[in-house]
């Protein structure tokens, strides 16, 4: 027991830019995993009507995939791929998409977030469309919020 604690007690001076980048096996396996994690997040996002999952779950899985990428290739690589400006716009865009669906349903003559009026022929189709867009809004906001918090933490260095 004491041996195990000692071995993991090595002080992590710069944990985010960890040694992972120098370890070939982790690098190769991690690189292969990232696209599948992102694909799975999209599945969770758009299959939420039929199975477990939805915007929030998809958002955190997507963000986890991107953060894994940052752990392997460094924070700067992710910053180049997902610019901080994009993150800030994305945070607001998701919530605005959600609220926008509510406003459109009001303009169509229904109550706020009453998706039934979005399709003039079949209320169920309107519900489908509304839920799809609203979940997409949640997914976008959650993804970028997680990345923004990660940037805020990982971007700081001890001064």
């Amino acid at each position: 027991m004491s041996d195990a604690t000692e071995s993991i007690e090595t002080p992590p001076s710069t944990p985010i830019k960890m040694r992972v980048r120098e370890t070939l096996v982790l690098r190769v396996v991690g690189k292969a995993l990232v696209p599948f994690i992102l694909l799975f997040a999209l599945y969770v996002q758009f299959h939420g009507d039929y199975g477990p999952g939805g915007g929030f779950q998809a958002g955190v899985i997507f963000a986890a995939g991107l953060i894994l990428h940052a752990l392997i290739f460094g924070l700067d690589a992710l910053r180049d791929a997902v610019k901080p400006v994009v993150v800030e716009i994305g945070i607001a865009f998701g919530a605005l998409l959600y609220g926008g669906v509510g406003l459109v349903s009001m303009l169509q003559g229904g109550e706020f977030l009453h998706y039934g009026v979005l399709d003039s022929h079949d209320p169920a189709h309107g519900q489908h469309l509304g839920i799809l867009l609203v979940e997409l809004g949640v997914g976008i906001t959650v993804t970028f919020v997680m990345i923004a918090i990660f940037y805020a933490f990982a971007g700081r260095s001890r001064q």
Binding site: T5, I8, E9, T10, P11, P12, P15, I16, M18, V44, G48, D49, Y50, G51, P52, G53, G54, F56, Q57, V60, I61, A64, I67, P84, V85, V87, E88, I91, A92, G94, A95, Y98, G99, G102, F112, L113, Y115, P123, A124, Q127, G130, I131, V134, E135, G137, V138, T141, V142, F144, V145, A148, I149, F150, Y151, A152, F153, G155, R156, S157, R158
Partner: protein, 198 residues
């Protein structure tokens, strides 16, 4: 019946693991090891929630608890020491407060309906309507999604706003992307000025 017994056994094992892990983390002084074990704790909790058929919650617990928050813990550890300092105060007070709170919470659960009881108040109010009519009204097989996104759309909108506020707070307090960018730009301009002067 056999399936239920296996389920109960798995739940019991997970629960014992959770308690042992919680006690071990509480005694641990290495913050790095504690952060790692918190991730394992979340993963076990996610397994527990899967056993209780709360797959959506388990998803979130596994991704946030075991994944993202572990990374954030490590990021925070980079800014501080990896060893917990010895507390100045007597730890017996803390133990008493925690024990008293735990006992109160346990006492509170005595009045709650049994787990999975179909006659519980929560299953009598609007739940029957959701289960029986959501297929006709919303047309989506997953009732959880129907409730979250449509019947309770206001709540989910509020939750999204809370998440948004969390990010705004993190960016403002921790000097996130905006501050870092402007600082980098300052550095660049001062660097080019220096070159020009030389």
């Amino acid at each position: 019946m056999g399936e239920q017994a296996i389920g109960a056994a798995v739940e019991a094992i997970l629960f014992v693991f959770l308690i042992v892990l919680a006690l071990y983390i509480a005694r641990l002084r290495s913050l790095f090891a504690a952060a790692m074990l918190f991730g394992i704790f979340s993963l076990l909790a996610a397994g527990m929630q899967t056993m209780m058929d709360a797959v959506d919650v388990a998803f979130t617990e596994a991704a946030v608890g075991a994944g993202i928050s572990t990374v954030l813990f490590l990021g925070a550890l980079g800014l501080t020491t990896s060893e917990e300092t010895r507390p100045l105060h007597h730890r017996i007070t803390g133990l008493l407060v925690v024990t008293a709170t735990g006992c109160l919470l346990a006492y509170g659960t005595l009045d709650m309906p049994a787990y999975g009881d179909p006659n519980a108040p929560i299953h009598q109010h609007v739940a029957p309507h959701y289960l029986e009519d959501s297929t006709a009204e919303i047309g989506i097989p997953n009732v959880v999604t129907s409730v979250l996104a449509s019947y309770r759309g206001y709540d989910t909108f509020g939750e999204t706003t809370v998440v948004l506020t969390a990010a705004v707070g993190a960016i403002l307090l921790l000097g996130g992307s905006v501050a870092t960018r402007s600082r980098e730009e300052e550095d660049e301009t001062s660097g080019s000025d220096g070159e020009g002067a030389s």
